[in-house]
């Protein structure tokens, strides 16, 4: 072979032998390497290797990305789009700890692996002189190999061979540099346009597929069978009716079953004695009235109707329901306020049925009585 000598290799049968060999070789040579079919613990010690600096990559990248993430969150939450979650401060550090933790782990781990593959191992260039040699075949199968490179300053083929023989190595053989492989390998580098093009294609294809899948594919048949159905959908023109609206108004002059329209909508007066409370003041009616009052009215009027709004001034506090005016009002007048609204108090006709409104009237009456009881109530 006309190729240049790369190294002289020897093979051993047991991990103990290779440990010993590595210790001996390490005494004299610096440019050598060991290949074993599985990790042999303690080998880095035998080869006199110090602590691997790869941990620093993990530390530096992990911490940097964590800080970047923190800045990103701070920017979102303080500058770009402040949002309040669960009454916590806008910048809510404890809540971000899980995110920061995961970011640190993810970026640290991924960069460590990528650094090993692309910087330390030099991928995608995988050319190496030991490829396709008997040495590589055996040391990836059942033997433990060591080779000393020719570029080691102390290298002398005869001396190395002698050392290997002393150590009891089998199949001592030279390894040559394959010029063709080297040339081919030089063409493979992360910076080569081919590789960059390849990586860019992968990125484009994956993100394009994700974009298409999530934004378009799910709206194509058959994936859209669930969402596109022959039924009436809100906010969509209805071609069946002339006016294009799905929710049709009742035919003029009719009312729905069980629904009694309120005649005095918008009326300013004249409803005072118009009707009496149709419900009997039973325990159930009070219970219903209490429940509905607490749900619908108490936020503004306070639990006891004293106008102590819980809205902390975000909405004008209403007057007390215990005022002389309100106490002297007829039931129908309170009913009118709930149904019709009054000035800035909106109408609750849509949220409360007629019976519920009358039940609330009973409850409001009971509240008023409770603050101003008659002699007979106290006994």
């Amino acid at each position: 072979m006309s190729n240049q000598l790369y190294a002289l290799s020897g093979q051993f049968e047991t991990p103990d032998e290779i440990m010993h060999a590595a210790e001996e070789v390490n005494k004299k040579y610096k440019q050598y390497d060991v290949n074993t079919p599985y990790p042999v613990h303690g080998m880095d010690g035998a080869m006199g290797m110090g602590e691997s600096p790869i941990g620093w990559v993990t530390l530096v990248v992990g911490t940097t990305c964590m800080l970047l993430m923190l800045c990103f969150i701070a920017w979102i939450q303080l500058v770009d789009y402040p949002t309040t979650f669960a009454g916590k401060p806008d910048f809510n550090l404890p809540g971000y700890v899980p995110i920061l933790f995961e970011t640190t782990i993810l970026t640290g781990a991924v960069t460590t692996v990528l650094t090993l593959l692309f910087v330390v191992c030099g991928l995608p260039n995988n050319a190496h002189p030991i490829h396709d040699t008997n040495y590589a075949k055996r040391t990836s199968d059942d033997r433990f190999g060591i080779y000393v490179e020719a570029k080691d300053p102390a290298f002398n083929e005869a001396e190395v061979r002698q050392l290997f023989e002393q150590l009891g190595a089998k199949d001592i053989a030279p390894i040559y540099i394959d010029a063709e492989e080297v040339a081919a390998g030089k063409n493979m580098s992360v910076l080569k346009p081919q590789f960059i093009g390849f990586a860019a294609t992968v990125v484009l294809v994956i993100s394009g597929a994700a974009y298409f899948g999530l934004n378009h594919m799910v709206f194509l048949p058959p994936y859209n069978w669930m969402s596109v159905q022959p039924k009436v959908v809100p906010q969509k023109t209805n071609t069946v009716f002339k006016n294009g609206v799905s929710m049709q108004l009742p035919v003029e002059g009719t009312i729905a079953r069980g629904f009694i329209p309120y005649a005095k909508v918008g009326a300013k007066e004249g409803f005072g004695q118009s009707m009496a409370n149709p419900l009997d003041p039973t325990a159930e009616v009070f219970a219903l009235g209490e429940q509905k009052y607490l749900t619908m009215c108490s936020a503004c009027h306070g639990n006891y109707g004293q106008g102590d709004s819980r809205l902390n001034g975000q909405y004008p506090a209403p007057p007390s329901l215990h005022s002389k005016k309100a106490v002297e009002w007829a039931d129908a007048e309170i009913y009118h306020v709930i149904t019709n609204g009054q000035n800035i108090m909106p109408s609750y006709a849509k949220q409360l049925t007629r019976d519920e409104r009358w039940a609330i009237v009973h409850y409001v009456r009971a509240l008023q009585r409770s603050l101003n009881p008659k002699e007979t109530d106290v006994q």
């Binding site: 613990h41 010690g45 916590k88 404890p94 700890v97 899980p98």
Partner: protein
């Protein structure tokens, strides 16, 4: 390879170990007694810390033994006898439980007060059932301790491999038992100090905190013994490394559970969950709460993160002592707000108990070393354990 299992020669520990142990024990006991007469309630609360400290170290040392068998780990085999010796603390737990058991009326609100919540918890939180649980838990631990160490010691002379197989089966039983029992113990002794509060990860947090402390105690013993030639000469720094690795892993996990408990409660902000943290946020307790992050996580993490440090005997000793301190700090933070809500107080009373705890651990360990080999010389995994390298 040059090491061989037969190279171990048993040497007796120098008498100074016993003297130091007895000395600490004596001074600690004296201070504890004085403290009991001067400030009885405070002393009673401290005795909960003492009991939980020793119980945690004892049972998690046994856990280390079990996990070695179950995982088939070899790195710890040359050190396993040390784990076994520290787990003998379990035998003395009944004594240390007594001060707590006799002052339950003063310590635990649920023994004499009731309200709607406590009434519903009464099926679990009542004194007879508490005693039964305590007896069952310590009883089980003692049984497992006897079985494990019995088999292991027998192997020293018989070299019978089937004993290892027996202990493997025992470990598979012990680990779930330990998980449940240490959770129950931490609920009974620590969580029920503030009986309205509850947290599901509390037991895990106590377990992992105790494991860091147990590993720290083990590390101190291993480093001191090995540097002075009392262990098998094949024990090397790679073994220290593994102990350090366990400590840093447990420390990180401790922070993980402690933080997730605190963060979730803070986030959900539910009135029945927050009081426990509010008590630890009142007055100077806030300082202790925040200092936990530094003391129990950041400092030990950076002490141990580098490989260099985990292989350096002096740095390992320092880190272990620090971790023990951090664990005491944590126990203090869990127990004492129930005694003194207005703020932390640390004085000679607490110091006395630290000395007492150290005295107990050293004395018990010293007694153990008198009768037993310091290395499990008959273990079939010992040779591989000695050859363990990173």
């Amino acid at each position: 390879m040059s090491t061989h299992t037969s190279q171990y020669q048993k040497k007796d520990l120098p008498p100074v170990v016993g003297q130091v142990g007895f000395g600490l024990l004596g001074v600690g006991l004296l201070l504890a007694l004085v403290s009991f007469f001067v400030d009885p309630l405070r002393t009673k609360f401290i005795s909960i810390m003492l009991f939980m400290f020793l119980a945690g170290i004892g049972v998690t040392s046994l856990f280390m033994v079990a996990i070695e068998y179950l995982a088939g780990a070899v790195w710890s085999t040359p050190l396993r006898r040390i784990f076994e010796m520290f787990s003998s603390l379990i035998l003395f737990l009944p004594i240390f439980a007594l001060p707590v058991v006799f002052s339950m009326q003063d310590l635990y609100e649920w023994t004499h007060k009731t309200d709607e919540i406590l009434a519903r918890k009464a099926a679990y939180l009542n004194q007879p059932f508490f005693m039964v649980r305590l007896a069952v838990i310590i009883g089980l631990w003692i049984v497992f301790y006897k079985l494990f160490t019995g088999n292991s010691l027998k192997q020293d002379t018989t070299q019978d491999q089937s004993l290892t197989a027996k202990n493997v089966k025992l470990s598979a039983l012990f680990i779930p038992v330990m998980g449940l029992s240490i959770t129950a113990l931490s609920i009974d002794f620590l969580m029920s100090l503030e009986p309205h509060w509850f947290s599901t990860i509390f037991g895990v947090n106590f377990f992992i905190g105790s494991l860091t402390a147990a590993l720290a105690v083990i590390t101190i013993a291993v480093v001191l013994l090995n540097e002075n030639g009392y262990l098998h000469p094949g024990t090397v720094r790679d073994h220290y490394y593994s102990l350090g690795f366990g400590m840093i892993a447990a420390t990180v996990f401790w922070m993980y559970t402690a933080f997730s408990q605190g963060m979730l409660i803070w986030y959900a902000n539910i009135p029945e969950e927050t009081p426990w943290y509010l008590h630890r946020w009142d007055g100077d307790w806030k300082v202790i709460t925040l200092a936990q992050i530094l003391v129990h996580f950041i400092i030990p993490f950076f002490l141990l993160v580098q490989r260099k440090n985990k292989r350096n005997p002096n740095r390992m000793l320092f880190a272990s002592v620090w971790i023990l301190f951090a664990h005491l700090f944590d126990l203090y933070w869990v127990v004492m707000p129930a005694y003194r809500p207005q703020g932390p107080i640390i004085g000679w009373n607490e110091l006395g108990f630290v000395l007492l705890a150290a005295g107990v651990i050293i004395t018990v360990f010293h007694q153990q070393t008198k009768r037993k080999n310091l290395v499990a010389v008959g273990d079939p995994k010992l040779q591989r354990g000695l050859e363990f390298r990173l």
